[in-house]
């Protein structure tokens, strides 16, 4: 969507273009509000992903609880866990099988950088999903709390539409209560 400013009414831009832009906005809004993740758990983070779909955290509020087992039907790939060299081709294939537009969330330290398993001399762990996937949102934590995943999804929505769904809560205000 970029940062280019919208043409104003006075400018001599054909109105059709403006309408297309608004249609595009609408389409993006629809996409952001129905992010179907791929059922794709790798390790510990997968349990937290499951938790966030369950009763207490409930991803379904944002229409994101439809965990599709098939990559063809999903929009966002939550890489939840460590990717190792044996799994790497499979993850690539899964990503390639997803239809555009698609997004990737790297959940947890392992997916961000290899986490605790990346050390000099390691032989089997891929150090970060961004070494081979275009990651949109990073969620740190080992594993991240479900709230963090929800925040990550909201970040992704913001990235898609440009607007944030809920006002961002500053940590200081939360402490004050």
């Amino acid at each position: 969507m970029g940062t280019e400013s919208l043409p104003t009414i006075e400018s001599a831009i054909p109105s059709a273009l403006l309408q297309f832009h608004q249609l595009d906005q609408l389409r993006m809004l629809a996409r952001a509000n129905s992010l179907w993740p791929l059922t794709f758990g790798l390790a510990c983070c997968a349990i937290e992903m499951l938790s966030s779909g369950c009763a207490r955290f409930d991803l379904s509020r944002f229409g994101a609880e439809v965990f599709r087992p098939s990559p063809r039907q999903s929009d966002v790939m939550i890489v939840a866990g460590t990717i190792n060299k044996k799994m790497l081709p499979a993850v690539k294939i899964l990503y390639d099988q997803m239809p555009e537009p698609k997004w990737v969330i790297a959940m947890g330290n392992c997916a961000i950088s290899g986490g605790p398993f990346a050390y000099p001399g390691q032989y089997n762990v891929v150090e970060g999903a961004d070494t081979f996937l275009p990651v949109d949102v990073y969620i740190p934590g080992c594993p991240p709390r479900p709230e963090a995943l929800i925040e990550g999804l909201l970040e992704l929505e913001e990235k898609i539409t440009g607007n944030r769904r809920w006002p961002r809560v500053k940590p200081e205000t939360m402490v004050k209560g």
């Binding site: 060299k85 044996k86 001399g121 390691q122 032989y123 089997n124």
Partner: protein, 186 residues
Amino acid sequence: MDRAKIKRELENLAAEGLPAEPPQEETPVEVQTEAEGEDKAKPKAKKDEDVPRKNGLIETEYAKRGTHLDVQINPDQVVKAAEILDAEGMTLEMVTGVDWLKEGQLEVIYDYSYPGGQLFRVVVRARLDRNNPDIPTVCHLYGGANWHERETWEMLGINFVGHPQLEHFLLPEDADFYPLRKDFKP
């Protein structure tokens, strides 16, 4: 399960394997200088353990080691040991390898336990030459050994002769290294 019988039979088995021992003993034993200062508390134990163990059976203290019997035998005897223990209803808990780089040896460790009422753990170990790590498989006796042996082969390069499927298991199919060997460099 008869503990005394197991002990007797394993003792005999280890004794059978003794003659083959001397050439193995000749492998140069280096004194570990860096470890010396740190182990003052138990100098005696240290002295015993510095030399690779001879074949034979040791009764270990459970509270200290977690095992009751510790048997070292020749590699070709592991099947026989497994047969003895299998006949007594023991289960093979795991198969492990250790790479003794300094001694030029690889060690295969079999952990047996008894799933009945009594608490009884037996460790069977066999040392192999590092350049020629062949050991017979116990897969035909214990189905569970299959995966453990496969993993030990993959991680340490110990060749289990007669294993039905010595293929890559945990590592990618094209891995050509033994990561748990001490001289492994990625």
